[in-house]
Symmetry: C2
Subunit: 354 residues, 2 copies
């Protein structure tokens, strides 16, 4: 094994079967990520098409539908009532976290496949209800972990899982954004505990958490953490630092934030090498990878693949071809439980077993 061969063919879709047809999507929720990242990705995707958009505002729904050539703009009420239900095959749920469940239940009622944004829901109980509803209805459910369909991250997973850095020992990672810097300021659902279930941890801390689980192929067994926040962040965590214990004595030390200088990195130190992933979690970002081993070092800048488009095509290929989705509902539920554990630990000053 050489470093070069481990990391070449960066854009390969190792999951692709090349199905016939397309999956027609209803996009439920038209916030900034839906309009700026998801809908453009759906338009560009090979196996997807946005045919329905759903918003709280009929006017906005119509306007966005026209912008992206979707056939229908619906209100949430109309969606719940089954309007245009024959015009889509799957729904992409991209509302505030605590509204995922009812939209998922609607999709289940109509037998639609579901791609649901992370975190899967605002609490473990509600996330369990999402998973359970989809199982009962027999519809496919994917948690929208775009890092898992980022080609560079998938190559890293191959490297790590094949022993490319020996046995993983310790991880560090962080993802922080300036959540007040956007157009919404402090008046946004991400700062509302009821709607979001938490703050920086739920919104961005979930990225290093889930990506670590993906790379390691393991789930944490215990967590401890520290949260803080005041002012606009009085209701949720502005900053969080959390440590995870994984099997085989692996630990992960992660941070997340809603303010301050941005960061987005993940490193894994192993028995025989270290990988560093920089610009790790930005949308469509040019990932920077450094792999250091005794036999050499590689610095690599990824091609900046649109991993959101990859995510939609991954989901569509799985649905059309019938293979099992990696980031399924259970994957999302595991993270919601772990994050709830971090909050419990921050409140109790004790480690929380998962």
């Amino acid at each position: 094994m050489t470093l070069a061969s481990d990391l070449t063919d960066l854009t390969a879709r190792d999951w692709e079967t090349g199905p016939e047809g397309v999956v027609r999507f209803a996009v439920v929720g038209l916030g900034g990520f839906a309009r700026n990242a998801a809908l453009p990705a759906l338009v560009e995707a090979d196996y997807c098409e946005p045919t329905v958009v759903v918003s709280g505002s009929a006017e906005k729904a119509d306007r966005i539908a026209a912008e992206f050539d979707a056939d229908h703009g619906l209100t949430y009420e109309a969606y719940a009532d089954g309007a245009a239900r024959d015009a889509y095959d799957a729904v992409y749920v991209v509302t505030p976290n605590a509204l995922h469940l009812p939209h998922v239940e609607t999709a289940c009622e109509f037998g639609k496949g579901i791609l649901c944004e992370k975190p899967l829901e605002a609490t473990p109980d509600r996330a369990e209800a999402v998973v359970s509803a989809c199982e009962t209805a027999g519809v496919p459910l994917m948690t929208a972990y775009r890092m898992q369909t980022d080609p560079v991250v998938r190559r890293l997973r191959e490297l790590v899982r094949s022993g490319g850095i020996g046995d993983p020992i310790q991880l560090h990672g962080g993802f922080s954004i300036d959540v007040l810097g956007g157009s919404r300021g402090p008046d946004q659902w991400r700062l509302d505990r009821d709607l979001a279930g938490g703050g920086a941890l739920m919104d961005v801390g979930v990225y290093p958490l889930n990506t670590a689980r993906f790379l390691l192929d393991g789930d944490p067994t215990a967590v401890a953490g520290t949260t803080s926040g005041d002012g606009p962040f009085a209701d949720v965590d502005e900053s969080v630092a959390f440590q995870l214990r994984f099997p085989e004595d692996v630990t992960a030390s992660f941070t997340a934030g809603f303010s301050g200088d941005g960061e987005r990195f993940l490193t894994i130190r192993g028995s025989e090498g270290t990988v560093e992933l920089r610009n790790a979690f930005s949308v469509g970002g040019e990932r920077r990878v450094r792999v250091r081993r005794d036999d050499g070092e590689i610095d690599l800048t990824g091609p900046g693949t649109d991993e959101v488009r990859e995510e939609f095509d991954y989901f569509a290929d799985a649905v059309l071809s019938g293979w099992d989705i990696g980031p399924d509902g259970q994957d999302g539920l595991t993270d919601v439980r772990a994050m709830q554990g971090v909050y419990e630990s921050a409140a109790s000053d004790e480690w929380v077993e998962l």
Copy 2:
């Protein structure tokens, strides 16, 4: 303030008063670090001179004395009995951790200044006894935190303390070495809990811990951690991950290790920028610094100053000129207490208040 001016004059000795005379050192303990780093640094230092070396073996003491032109090679017993006590002004204690106290007590008895290796002792009680003995004797005591006399680290401290990255929010850091890779293999005091007081945390984890406290000008209020180790590391921590809570909601997520791929880094994310220090803790290493702010980014490689020589001259200047030593005994004691807290937390699965 500009980035460039914050970090220029990298080698400046901001503490230097240029005293007359030299401090004659007895080097107590002649392990690898003493022979390969400390004695060469003493020979090169401006205000120091090695005049006595002390070892368990008379033959070794004589041989090393000859090698470094020291006037006396002593056994520990001879040192304790006051042999050649007029030939040195200060002692540098560089024995296994749990032997620091008796050698410090000897130095106190003879009224000598003391530069004592980190960690100050193997337990908080014994570290307190070191501090107390020096206070009672009225002799200067410095804990040998060479990072505090590394010019690049001192420039970073100026940058951080002057608000160069705004308010610090979160730190990450790690220091891991291959402790079995040296000539001693598993037969060494660093793997003996009685002699070392612990494993990777005590030996190398103390570096990010103390450097963080130095850069932040603050002490942790609580700690949590995870330790692991088996085989040759059954007695001590082979790996440790620990989180520290500092005042003002600052957190630090640190790791240390005695095996696996080496790492040595420290980062501080602040409200207005981030600093990354690479190759942070190696002896005489070319530190690599990246400072990222809204107004620009600097990548800088330090000159590879011998911070051990700086440490000796810093101590000597302080002793000769009579100014207060920064990394004093209390500084060392604070770290021993914090590390003891990490071990308690790892055993109890609870946060430990400091």
